[in-house]
């Protein structure tokens, strides 16, 4: 793994976006090829980063050749390569899916351009080592997602997109205000340098004010419960591939990853903040699960389920023990896979039947065998049925909670898991089993590209538990170690700068 590969994570999607906007109008095939090639290369590069780790475990790239506090630096450590693999794996499979699915929409090239920009934004957030740069890429990803939610330009989509854009802009303003305060206090923007400067200054009220601003801002982006109002509208309104991206990786990159990086590595974690994480996580779990049961719209149910599962991740990170952080990150990866799979399934159902209302569906098992079997795997996985991947991550989180002495919270997590099973059984029962409606007799299975990506995601769901065996475990452990190292991050980064 060479230093010079680091900027490519941003250059490839950006270049693809610009080229698609220039040549995509000529033919749809050109867009398909360019987008799939770009995501394929990104996936290859991120796997490369995960497999060939540098000896020190960290790579720092100086953009423009300027030494970090002066210029911007890109940082590749364990957490970064973990997030890169997750994001680029899901986005590669989603672009395969989009080849057929997006035929139903006009102006496919605009979709692909915005998609690549969103991907560039997410990769930029993950790889950067500079706080303001993180904000800029966060805005790229957010603005692309506001537009993508409204891509169908129908009534609900526009309304949902507006609501989402208002909430998202307020969140961005909070984050920018936080960055301004932090700049004034430490007079630098480099994350590692801020961390070091804060160490020298010690604790003061301004840090808690900044923490509140960041918690509100990134919490809004992650849709944690007091701030979740936009998600159940925005995620179902988007086209299915975008729902999969938004629920699968978008809220994790902009919300969870940024929260972790800032709280664990820059501001420094304290017992109070960990406790806030736990409370937010538990509330999100309960509220998301309870609201999900009542839904009859498939995608809306999945959206509430995302809130609930994000709650699991934040809860695990809040426990703060090494095992819990490992479990939380593992659950983040798993949730990205199965939630993307489920949203793609809902897209396949909508593609062939034209409806996503549970009441009007039924008996699709015989007509859509691939969709039915993959969504069975996805549902059972998210509900935590062994030996699928969701089971292992939930098990680790619950064991870690018990070890840390949070018995009540562990019990809540188990109960929420049972409720999750209940509403996914409801989804499976109403959609694939029961009597086939006469209006749905003539529907056909979805095209090859859609089947292919759903199948691959289902296979990853089945094999996901293998990440825990000793051969693959360093992938998760090195990510967890970055968070565990806490404020040591500054020393590691400056140590890697030559």
């Amino acid at each position: 793994m060479n230093h010079n590969l680091l900027p490519l994570y941003v250059i490839i999607p950006l270049g693809a976006a610009f080229l698609i906007s220039l040549f995509g109008k000529i033919s749809k095939r050109i867009c398909d090829c360019l987008a799939n090639l770009a995501t394929f290369f990104l996936l290859g590069l991120s796997l490369l980063a995960a497999v060939y780790k540098p000896l020190t475990g960290i790579l720092v790239y100086k953009v423009g050749g300027w030494i970090p506090p002066i210029g911007i630096c890109l940082v590749l450590d364990g957490l970064t390569s973990f997030m890169l693999v997750t994001v680029n794996l899901v986005s590669f499979l989603v672009t395969i899916y989009s080849i057929s699915y997006m035929e139903k929409y006009t102006d496919k090239w605009k979709f692909y351009t915005l998609f690549m920009l969103m991907l560039a934004g997410m990769n930029g957030i993950i790889i950067t080592g500079d706080l303001f740069n993180l904000f800029v890429f966060l805005e790229i990803a957010s603005i692309a997602s506001y537009a993508l939610v409204a891509f169908g330009t129908e009534r609900e989509e526009l309304e949902a997109s507006f609501k989402y854009a208002v909430m998202g802009s307020v969140a961005s303003s909070f984050i920018l205000l936080g960055i301004a305060l932090l700049y004034s206090y430490t007079s630098t923007l480099n994350m590692a340098d801020i961390s070091r400067a804060l160490d020298i200054k010690g604790i003061s009220p301004i840090i808690s004010f900044i923490a509140v601003l960041f918690l509100a801002g990134f919490g809004l982006k992650a849709a944690l419960v007091p701030f979740h109002a936009w998600l159940p509208d925005a995620h179902p309104s988007a086209p299915a591939p975008i729902s999969a991206m938004l629920s699968g990786i978008f809220i994790k990159t902009l919300g969870v990853y940024a929260l972790c990086r800032i709280f664990f590595n820059i501001l420094g974690i304290s017992q109070n903040i960990l406790f806030i994480f736990i409370i937010l996580g538990i509330i999100s779990q309960i509220v998301g699960a309870i609201l999900a049961i009542a839904q009859n719209d498939i995608k809306r149910m999945f959206a509430y389920s995302s809130i609930s599962q994000i709650g699991y991740i934040i809860f695990a990170l809040g426990i703060g023990t090494p095992l819990a952080i490992l479990g939380g990150l593992f659950h983040l990866f798993n949730h990205a896979i199965f939630k993307a799979l489920l949203f793609l399934n809902s897209g396949a159902i909508e593609y062939s039947t034209g409806s996503r209302n549970l009441k009007s569906l039924g008996g699709l098992n015989s007509r859509l065998p691939v969709t039915a079997s993959t969504s069975l795997i996805g549902s059972m996985s998210i509900a935590g049925i062994p030996p699928l991947n969701g089971f292992w991550s939930k098990l680790i989180i619950i064991i870690a909670a018990i070890q840390a002495g949070y018995f009540g919270f562990a019990l809540i997590a188990i109960l929420v898991s049972i409720v999750t099973l209940a509403y996914y059984l409801k989804f499976m029962g109403f959609t694939f089993f029961g009597k086939l409606d006469t209006a749905l007799l003539r529907i056909k299975e979805v095209p090859l590209s859609m089947r292919l990506s759903m199948l691959i995601l289902a296979i990853i769901c089945v094999l996901g538990g293998l990440l825990l065996i000793p051969q693959f475990r360093p992938f998760l452990e090195s990510a967890a170690n970055v968070l565990l190292s806490g404020k040591g991050y500054a020393g590691i980064v400056f140590g890697a700068v030559k």
Binding site: Y146, A150, F162, V166, S169, S173
Partner: protein, 112 residues
């Protein structure tokens, strides 16, 4: 200090507008005010008493320049604000076309 506080009051006026107004255009205006306040705050923290603009002049040595970094960052933030506003106005125009109103309570009723 008092300047910072006035700036945050501006921020809160915008926040109030976003939280309480039922009209889409008013909400966009509120977001605009919030953006102005944050940009202003950024420039305020970089100001140096009796400082000079961060542009070098021929044959004179300037010692007390204001901090140029916040200015560079705010330049970026202004562009981001413009981009957000343009996108939201586009959504607002489409919403008006579909629903025939700018009132979000009415829009919610129409949506059912």
């Amino acid at each position: 200090m008092s300047v910072y506080f006035l700036c945050l009051i501006l921020f809160c006026i915008g926040l109030y507008c976003v939280l309480r107004k039922r009209n889409i255009i008013k909400i966009i205006i509120g977001l605009g005010i919030i953006e102005y306040a944050v940009n202003l705050f950024f420039v305020l923290i970089g100001y140096r008493a009796g400082g000079r603009a961060p542009i070098l002049a021929k044959d004179q040595v300037v010692l007390n320049m204001v901090d140029p970094i916040p200015q560079a960052l705010v330049l970026t933030a202004i562009v981001i604000g413009l981009a957000t506003t343009a996108l939201m106005v586009a959504i607002a125009i489409r919403i008006y076309e579909k629903f025939g109103t700018f009132d979000i309570t009415k829009i919610r009723k129409l949506r059912g």
